[in-house]
Amino acid sequence: MKYYDIFIVGAGPVGLFTVFEAGLLGLTCGIVDALDRPGGQCTELYPEKPIYDIPGVPYQTAQQHVDALLEQIKPFNYDVYLENEILTVNKEKENLFIIELKSGEFISAGCIFMASGGGKFVPKKPNLLNLDVHENSGLVNYTLKNIDSLKDKEVVIFGAGDSALDWCLLLNERQIPKKLTLVHRTGKFRASPHSVNSLMDKVEKNEITLYLNSNATSINDQGITINQKESEHFLKADKIFMFFGLLMSRANLGSFESLWNINGLINVNTENFQTTIPGVYAVGDCNTYPGKLKLILSGFHETTLAVQSAYKSIKGETPEFQYTTTSTNLIDILKR
């Protein structure tokens, strides 16, 4: 079983910076994230948005910020478990947690850092009877990864945002599916005007079938039924993709679920950002304490102090305090 001194939940800015601070003290890290790439909210939701309040960095887009953090932690060895999450976690003894991941892997860790921000991203789903059965069979999907697997298939896409339209147009352009249908709940799209125009052009040419003002009402293993005003249509489908956007839900904490307070945050002390369970820390937007501000820079401060405490607890001694500017040890590790 792989061991890490620190197992981090969440690969957003604060989770990534935890790897840096831990690395300076010689602690090893593993990170788990529900998404398929590191960066958290910054990458997933607003990669192009500017950030102005990182000390010493007058301007960075959110993605540039994540890229810079990934560059900053390059000198250190760490593992990232993507599209994964904690299923169960047990505290065996002081400084030893056993974690089971959704993928089936078991991991041991000296301590756990919750850096899960606003929560894990999950797709929005419609209310349909037996939806889960058809998710498990592979009929209903919320992400599209391998477009070639849709060759000669009948594909139905739901949604009105950029994801729905972009995929629809790409599949059409590559002429992959046998039949391509787009369904939207109302009559207006929420995507770039260029995409909407291209779509309407393809609809006119009968390359894409479009149903507006339509909702899914039932589903079986052959396809999905939608209603449009008074009439019902059965859309035969080999693959259905639903792009209704994302929701955030609390990151899974296994048997430590009780750490979440009523507001969906984790209470910590401000000395070392430890929770009520020794060895479990919470840093960044997922924690709360008197005076808390949900800022990336606050998360950096929190995790820096938390890592010091984790070191003390795992190694049984206070870490030697060193500056990266003068410590020859650190300079050797960090210099490029």
């Binding site: 207006k188 929420r190 209704f244 009523i262």
Partner: protein
């Protein structure tokens, strides 16, 4: 000025606000923002969906309605996106409910 907010757990409380304060900022201040406002107010997610039960204003831009249509499942004619609401005297005494599962 005060506004009454029912949170996702069904708890109802009054919250004081300043004139011209954004509704989302009031919610963040009071820890009412779990799973709320993913896109940061850019009309890209619809997760800050609230229903106005009384008072307030239903005047919205076309963009806000489009976003509600695309991303908020249970939207109705009382729906607003908190990120687009600037509180003022018309919201004094108003009552809103955070939609439990957008």
């Amino acid at each position: 000025m005060k506004i009454t907010i029912t949170d996702r757990n069904g708890n109802t409380n009054d919250y004081e606000f300043r004139n011209k304060q954004k509704l989302t900022s009031l919610m963040v201040q009071n820890n009412l923002d779990e799973g709320f406002g993913l896109c940061g107010g850019f009309l890209d997610c619809g997760t800050c969906h609230v229903v106005v039960e009384s008072g307030g204003s239903m005047e919205k831009q076309e963009d806000e309605q489009d976003c509600l249509d695309a991303f908020a499942f249970n939207a109705n004619d009382k729906s607003r996106l908190a990120c687009q609401v600037t509180l003022n005297e018309s919201w004094d005494g108003a009552s809103i409910k955070i939609v439990p599962d957008n």
